[in-house]
Amino acid sequence: MSEVKNIHQPKADNQTEDKSKTEKLDTNYWRSFKDLFRDTSLIEASNHEFGDGVKDDFEPSKLSGISRRKFLALVGASAALAGAGCSDYRSKGDIIPYNKMPEEITVGKANYYASTSTACSHGCGVLIKTREGRPIKVDGNPDHPVSKGKTCAKCQASILSLYDPERLKFPMRKSRNGGFLKSTWQHVDDEIINALNKIGNKQIAFVSQRIISPTGKKVLDDFVKQYPNTKIYSYELFDEQIRNSAWQKCYGINKFPLISWDKAKVILGLETDFLGTDGNKVETSRLYTQGREVNNLKKFNRLYVAESTLSVTGMNSDYRFRLRPDAQFEFVMCLLNEINKNGISVPGSLPLGGYSLKSFAGKYSLSLKNLKQLVKDLASAKGESVIYAGRTLPENVHIAVNLLNEALGNTALYRTDSIDVDVLPLLKHEEIKELVNDMNAGNVGMIIHYDSNPVFHFPDDLGYKDALKKVPVVVSITGSQNDSSELGNYTLPLSHDFESWGDAKTRTGFYSFQQPVIDPIFSTRQKEAILLTWLKGKPVVFDEMVYHKYLMNNWQNNLYPTFNTKMTFTEFWNAGLHDGIAILEEEPDSFGSFNSSALSELQNAVKASSKYIVVLRESYQAGDGKFLNNGWLLELPHPVSKITWDNYAAVSHNTAKDLGIKSNDMIAIRVGDRKLEIPAFIQPGTADKTITIELGFGRKVVGIVGTGVGFNANVLRSKSAGISPWIYLANNVSKSGSSYHLVATMEHHMFGEALTKDAAQKRKIIQEGTVKEYQKDAHFLNTENPVKMESLYNPHEYPGVKWGMAVDLNKCVGCGDCVVACNAENNIPIVGKDQVAVSREMQWLRVDRYYSGSIDDPVTSNQIMLCQQCDNAPCENVCPVAATTHSPDGLNQMIYNRCVGTRYCSNNCPYKVRRFNFFNYRDHFKDNYQQSHLLSLVYNPEVTVRSRGVMEKCTFCIQRIMEARSNAIEEHRPLKGSDVRTACQDACNTEAIKFGDMNDKDSEFYKKYRTHELGYYVLEDVNTRPNVTYIAKLRNIESEEV
């Protein structure tokens, strides 16, 4: 009934309702403070097509003359041209076929190989796409039980590291004067074997990051057997130890269980970024968004987040509380008290009376109404809610959270089918101190940095760096020179994951396999093979297959028998390599019942301080610093702040006022006797007196891309943890006087909204509602009847397939994985910080982040923005050379070889999704970095590499469409919408991006997404008729309006 009523509403009614709605929604959307306060410079800037400083580059006096290389290239080219002109036919080059045809290769067709990514220690399953034997793209392995065909940005970008021209190419040893000299494997192997044999009773220490390979661990075990003085120290910059040890105290096993996020109705996240960096985000975000299905409102979850500064998880929350991390304990205790008052019994006999939610809300100026709503929701969703504390919080918070979950019966949501597995448990933080003591006492004869960077990762005051000087032999096995390897005697080049054999065990229930997809490009070896060579105890000729054979032997003798399969070993092994995984029936360790003795730690009330507090978080871009030489990741705008190529200290508006600073001002932070100067950035939604900094930046020894990127906040960490190893109270924070230039993309490519205040809302760029509103009236957005406007042009005809996309904003978490996938698929160049500063980033796909509401407690909306492939495309009309035209399958074609670079199209594009090559970025960025022969191997051969002066934009992955079309013709069947998946769609962890044929009215894509009642077009009022539908975000909040 309501449906009919709505559609046929008289026009006048419609208008009044619109008006009242506008009054109700006094929230306006803004991207930055300049935007919010209508800064005149921003209005001025958005009137111009290009940013400040664009002309500076063309100052002729600043241009360098022709370099020697260019001159020679020109001479060569003109000679070649002259030569070609003189012959009667132009030479077309050679065709060089294979000498002996590899059986699996068809030239022009990609092969996919299943493997395991070790970009981080989650070991996601990947399918590596190779063309003519070279890997060009990483996709997820759909058979993998955890990652289920999805990958994160780091995994996507790890292929760039394979072709990093600054990879180590040969072994090196330190000369007497301190520099590194090229050496040979034979030479360094001999010397190290010699040193090992003479080690006597001194210790051999391996310093490694998390080891996930069972066979890799066996190699280490063999090493320990042969050299019994060996000790293995494994660590991670961020680990789960606090969460696990709290769990052990409460439930008896040292492993926090997995959570059924998909079954949770109410989720409370405390200082955790489970959709970003805390845990396996590929799996968690998939499960979480299964509870964000607009077509299944009964299952719709509600997310509460209490955190210090806005994270990806915070951006997706329905209710968010700004809270400094040392107040989290009191917060959980208040919640325990409240639910106790609500008649839910809390195990143990804790003195909860002293914790009052009301005074807590007053103290931290939180909305008491929302807190009461939280308590009500938790009490009513007994057994169906999850309270999850971040891994950086201290142990007492975790124990209190375990208690709260226990009291609410949420243990039902702890998964019992599977659990994380440690092949080799990480070291306790204290044990690393013992290593340093041993080193200082001269008891350590050899240190092996086993693909790790402890000098950068360990707290400075641990003294690891100085202690290294007392170790006679320091060997670093690493992919590229890093802060630790530089201080050693030997640097041994490590093969990339894609050049290595291996296996991985991260969870019960399956093993996954790693196979090389390319021979080692340089004289590198994988770390296990290096050890196996040393284990021979005497100089031997290196066997390329040594670890492959070892791995197969270990599987045949030790692991294969546990599978109880009818397959022979060869069948089993080949099936395992083909699928990338082997499924095993396995019972995970079960946890016991709640142990009340753990509660003794909660007896003492921990009061929050009122001092400045420093929170260290994991970086979205650089990981733990491993990816600091990866341009794709560094140029990926930070999901929240949109800052690229840097880290920063996020502070709140009020804190900035107290300190007398603005964004970009340097602040000096003093924690104990440790000091850091870092630029501040005013991040809306940050708790007052809280300073949040991401780790992983500011490495001293790194390649040309990562040099000078960010600040090393690790220096603030201490061996004696503050509130936790990642949270410290600051002695003093002050303005340091100087300033810095942080580059953010948040104000780039703004919609032309200078003339209308709050354009994002008025022009319906962002449309959203609440679950209640939607339940009451499914058509509340009234988007089904687009305003019919006449066009001057005849409409295009779409006889066959018409491509369209739908983006479910309920599922988009704003992480940016799609951006990196698009970079990899479409040969998009890195432009560098100086070019991003003048709005010249080349990414075809951007994630627009809007805030609304107050500066202190903003509500965040994310929207991916890419070429909308308009039916009435404004870009097409203005191109003077017809380089951008319309195709019969609904695409705006951009033809590079025809483009002369007038940029009219970009000027006329209302969505600002076109990108212009102001330079040949392959040549321009960091002195030819991207033009190196090695890095050129990463390019997708099906996509043109664009040069200077050419406009480019999203093509809906035309190369994938054409491949699907070619396959359909080969199979003599019509092309279907479901045949094509775009690169961003493949990467999207949450399946927020749907792609298909809009003319196929029976397809799921058309029925479920394209014609959804929440679907809307951006800037519908300009009558561009876009082919990207956005499904409006529903917020699961109590009130009806956003």
């Binding site: 132009r90 065709i95 000498n99 030239v107 590079y896 054409m962």
Partner: protein, 189 residues
Amino acid sequence: MRKSLLDYILKVRLPITLFVIIASFTITYFASRAEDNGVGYSPVQPINFSHKLHAGQMRIDCQYCHTGVERSRNAMVPAVSTCMNCHTIAKKDSPEIKKLRNYYYSNIALPWVRVHKVPDFVYFNHSVHVNSGIKCESCHGDVRQMTRITQVHSFSMSDCLNCHRHAKEELPYIKDVKNGPDNCFACHR
């Protein structure tokens, strides 16, 4: 009236000069048309391979060697190992086969000289054409009669489009032939 020098230049010299320039451009354009678009190009190959012998007289199917045509964008020039399927036994002592065997056993790249080529920004796809029933000779000429491979048709954009737009006239041998796509993304991306 005295004829001025200017008059002479304008009336005689200039038209003659212009005529010579235009005529020479026109003649060069038409005379070198074939060279320009490659028609008639028949370079000497490192091994004197005869399509006339293999495809013509012995009637070996095109796809025995060019295995990619039905499956891939590239038709694929066969690997040396494909030749060696027969030539490990057949005509072992002929001087050309000796060259071939040398390439194979010394593992040296065999640099065939490329005859047919479209520019780098054209993504021509063999498999869609062959799978639509277009015969190889429609583009490559009657290879069965060629002792040395020669380009017989021009591969310019207008030649591609001519067939895409007038398929019925150009490809009468295919029943119910449909025109090919003539949008840009069909070939460029």
